[in-house]
């Protein structure tokens, strides 16, 4: 007699991405689904590797500054601050105080711009296009302000190694204050739309939860960590630029809602609170803006000559809108270009949080969960395995072995 094996319905596998309307940049989610529910989630990055570091190591430090700015289209100043902080440490350049303040002001304006952009994208992922248009309409004001201050809407080109390239003069203060007033009004409006709307609450409350314990294990950074109740912010923990001089607090969602749930809603709350915080910081910094020069070494030719003579390695950090960004730079005497340049974008630390967030949720929640950590995929991709016919998983040991081999190769090259 034949026995018939009865199989349990096993669900199906599907994938979202690398090209999909929910994802603004290429990353692939492979999902194990039962009905609408996600049983297991995994993601495959590495589809937008641009070789920025390779290019940077073939240009001198001033040129690399502008390349660093172009790692991300949204947080341009983030990468240039981190890179220049690393180089300044190596060359022991003392940045003037006024430059520190201007760096922080532009950094905070960029945070407002980035969070508003994110709010729009998140609303679009929820199918709430009116909120998307509203958020981006407000964002237009901060873009105009940045254009007014730096001369450009996106890549500000205001940072120079050893200071900043453009001043903020008292004539410009009224225009900045006007924008700050506008943002205060807009904050109230956006907070009402994003936090009080019933449908947004239905979609975001208790969806994509990252508990405090999970967050502690996975070490996300920025708003993703703070929304799960982890108090972590480079501006507070290791003050740099002018952040040591201002009052600044960890923005966790319990400041507004009284509790930390670690869901998508909390991540919206955190980002909105940070917009409000940034308005306050810009005002404080403007009030205290010290006098003084803008650049430690005003002549770029002199700066280049000095950088050619120094050797050493350093790490520059900055709290980007998405979390901590880290640049490792090594300079060698007699060489214009950095001998090594390694960029750790904030999304790199946040990626892994996707998996616990997605498991157990519905297909419908993938776009908003993916967007909720504000991923910046092409900033993050550092490695691409170009072997299309072989799906290869590189284990930790293998990766370690490859890194050791590479280091030995570099050292052998240096010894020659």
């Amino acid at each position: 007699m034949k026995t018939i094996e009865v199989k349990k319905p096993s669900g199906y596998a599907t994938q979202i991405g690398p090209a999909h309307p929910a994802l603004k940049e290429p990353v692939m989610f492979s999902l194990d689904i039962e009905g609408e529910r996600i049983r297991k989630a995994d993601f495959v990055p590495g589809m937008a590797h641009r070789g920025v570091e390779w290019m940077g190591m073939r240009r001198n430090c001033i040129q690399t500054m502008y390349l660093a700015e172009r790692i991300c289209g949204i947080c341009g100043i983030t990468h240039s601050i981190s890179f220049s902080r690393a180089v300044e440490q190596i060359a022991q350049i003392q940045v003037p105080n006024r430059a520190h303040y201007i760096r922080s002001i532009v950094g905070e304006l960029e945070r407002i711009h980035s969070h508003l952009l994110w709010a729009g994208v998140a609303a679009h992922e929820l199918g709430f296009d009116s909120a998307f248009y509203l958020a981006w309409r407000v964002r237009e004001n901060v873009m105009d302000l940045l254009e007014y201050l730096t001369g450009n809407r996106v890549h500000y080109a205001i940072i120079q190694i050893g200071g900043v390239r453009r001043d903020i003069v008292p004539d410009q203060f009224p225009r900045i204050e006007e924008s700050m007033k506008f943002f205060e009004g807009a904050y109230a409006k956006l907070a009402a739309v994003f936090l009080d709307d019933t449908t947004v609450q239905m979609r975001c409350r208790d969806c994509g939860v990252l508990t405090t314990d999970e967050a502690r294990e996975l070490c996300p950074v920025g708003p993703t960590a703070r929304a799960s109740g982890i108090k972590k912010d480079v501006r507070v923990d290791h003050p740099y630029a002018a952040y040591g001089d201002v009052e600044i607090e960890y923005q966790t969602p319990d400041l507004l809602t009284g509790e930390v749930r670690g869901d998508v809603y909390d991540r919206i709350v955190t980002r909105l609170l940070e917009v409000k915080q940034s308005i306050g910081i810009v005002r404080q910094l403007l009030a205290m803006l010290p006098d003084g020069p803008l650049l430690a070494i005003p002549k770029p030719a002199v700066l280049l000559a000095k950088l050619k003579g120094v050797a050493g390695e350093a790490v520059g950090r900055h709290e980007a809108p998405r979390g901590e960004v880290m640049h490792y730079v090594r300079l060698e005497a007699g060489k214009d270009e950095p001998a090594a340049w390694k960029v750790k974008a904030s999304s790199y630390s946040n990626y892994m949080a996707w998996i616990p967030m997605m498991e157990g949720e519905q297909i419908a929640d993938i776009p908003i969960i993916a967007a909720s950590i504000d991923p910046c995929i092409s900033c993050t991709d550092r490695v691409a395995l170009v072997r299309p016919d072989v799906r290869q998983i590189v284990t930790k040991e293998e990766l370690h072995r490859l890194s050791v081999e590479k280091t030995r190769r570099i050292q052998a090259g240096l010894a020659k």
């Binding site: 199906y12 599907t14 999909h20 309307p21 929910a22 609408e36 609303a123 679009h124 992922e125 929820l126 199918g127 709430f128 296009d129 009116s130 909120a131 248009y133 509203l134 309409r137 709307d197 019933t198 449908t199 947004v200 239905m202 979609r203 519905q362 297909i363 419908a364 929640d365 993938i366 776009p367």
Partner: protein, 336 residues
């Protein structure tokens, strides 16, 4: 049926089809412009849906390799044909000869026919062999089951109330058009009817697959769902059927809740043609008002629901609302 009436019916059918397509596309354009203005955008010109249609018709019609071609190509035709068919049963303004198939159908038939375009989309989605379309088709079926409860309760309330008043055909739409229910009920029944109206207003986005009930198509989740594999002529047919369905569903609400003509309020006696034209214009105006509040305003002021939430909203919230409405209409009849 003699030859003349047959000829009239055929001519009427063609006329209604043309009217449905034109009015549907035009109202779609109006919906887009108004939505854009409310979002502080300029938006497309009102004739944009016509431009889109012309563009789709010259585009290549791709049939995926693992689709079932006859079903994949047949589904859009079925959707459009069934949408136009419903139009033949719905009373519009007090125009001579309308509805075309006046004596042959009633509310129950319309309820069944309303399902056909949706089913055609499901068939098309399932036959297109794409995982996204399959998810979309499953969601569409769930949505159809979900909005049926509030829709049915409303229809039952109307038929029940009319049956009480000893008319000949309580389920007939001609009767409905002739007897506005608001005038037959007391204050409690009036409240009940208001609840039913609110329910129907929110059934419309589900019928038409608009936000917040557009889970079957959900652009950012499943990339267009049901319609993901459709292109060219087939996609044009689906968008036409959606346009006609817009007219169908809004005129159903008008017929149920606002059957009055302009000539009921203002006496236009000088010329019968003028009165007819005024009634037709008034009908279009009523359609516009219903469309604005049930589609345009709803779809831009909320976020999209998950499919489980669609069912929750339709069964728990709107189902309860419509049943309360039905109960109030019944209570009202007992009191009087």
């Amino acid at each position: 049926m003699n030859a003349t009436s047959l000829l009239l019916t055929v001519a009427g059918t063609l006329g209604m089809a043309v009217f449905g397509l034109f009015a549907g596309l035009w109202f779609t354009g109006l919906d887009r412009v108004l939505a854009a203005r409310m979002q502080a955008r300029i938006g497309p010109p009102v004739r944009q849906p016509f431009i889109d249609l012309a563009k789709l018709l010259v585009k290549q019609n791709v049939v995926p390799a693992n689709a079932i071609p006859w079903l994949f190509n047949g589904a859009p035709l079925l959707a459009l044909a069934s949408a136009i068919t419903i139009l033949l049963y719905i009373p519009m303004a007090a125009l001579p000869g309308l509805p075309v198939l006046d004596l042959h159908g009633d509310l129950v038939l319309i309820m069944y026919l309303l399902l056909v375009p949706g089913l055609a989309m499901v068939a098309g989605g399932l036959s297109s062999g794409s995982p996204y379309a399959t998810i979309g088709a499953q969601r569409e079926m769930v949505t159809m089951i979900a909005y049926e409860l509030p829709l049915a309760s409303t229809v039952i309330a109307f038929a029940w109330k009319l049956a009480q008043t000893d008319v000949d055909h309580p389920f007939s739409l001609a009767t409905l058009a002739a007897t506005p229910l608001w005038t037959l009920v007391g204050p409690i029944g009036f409240m009940g009817l208001l609840l039913l109206l609110a329910t129907m207003i929110l059934v419309v986005p589900g019928e038409l697959g608009r936000i917040p009930f557009d889970a079957p198509e959900a652009e950012t989740e499943i990339a267009g769902g049901l319609l993901v594999e459709y292109s060219g002529r087939n996609f044009a047919l689906f968008s036409l059927s959606l346009a006609v369905k817009t007219i169908v569903v809004t005129s159903l609400i008008v017929a149920l809740f606002f059957p009055w003509n302009l000539t009921d309020f203002v006496a236009i006696s000088c010329c019968p043609y003028l009165a007819t034209a005024a009634n037709a214009a008034f009908f279009l105006f009523k359609l516009f008002v219903v469309l604005f509040f049930s589609v345009t305003l709803v779809r831009i002021s909320v976020a999209r629901f998950r499919i489980t939430q669609v069912v929750d909203v339709y069964w728990k919230v709107l189902g309860a609302l419509s049943l309360i409405g039905l109960a109030l209409v019944m209570v009202d009849a007992q009191i009087r």
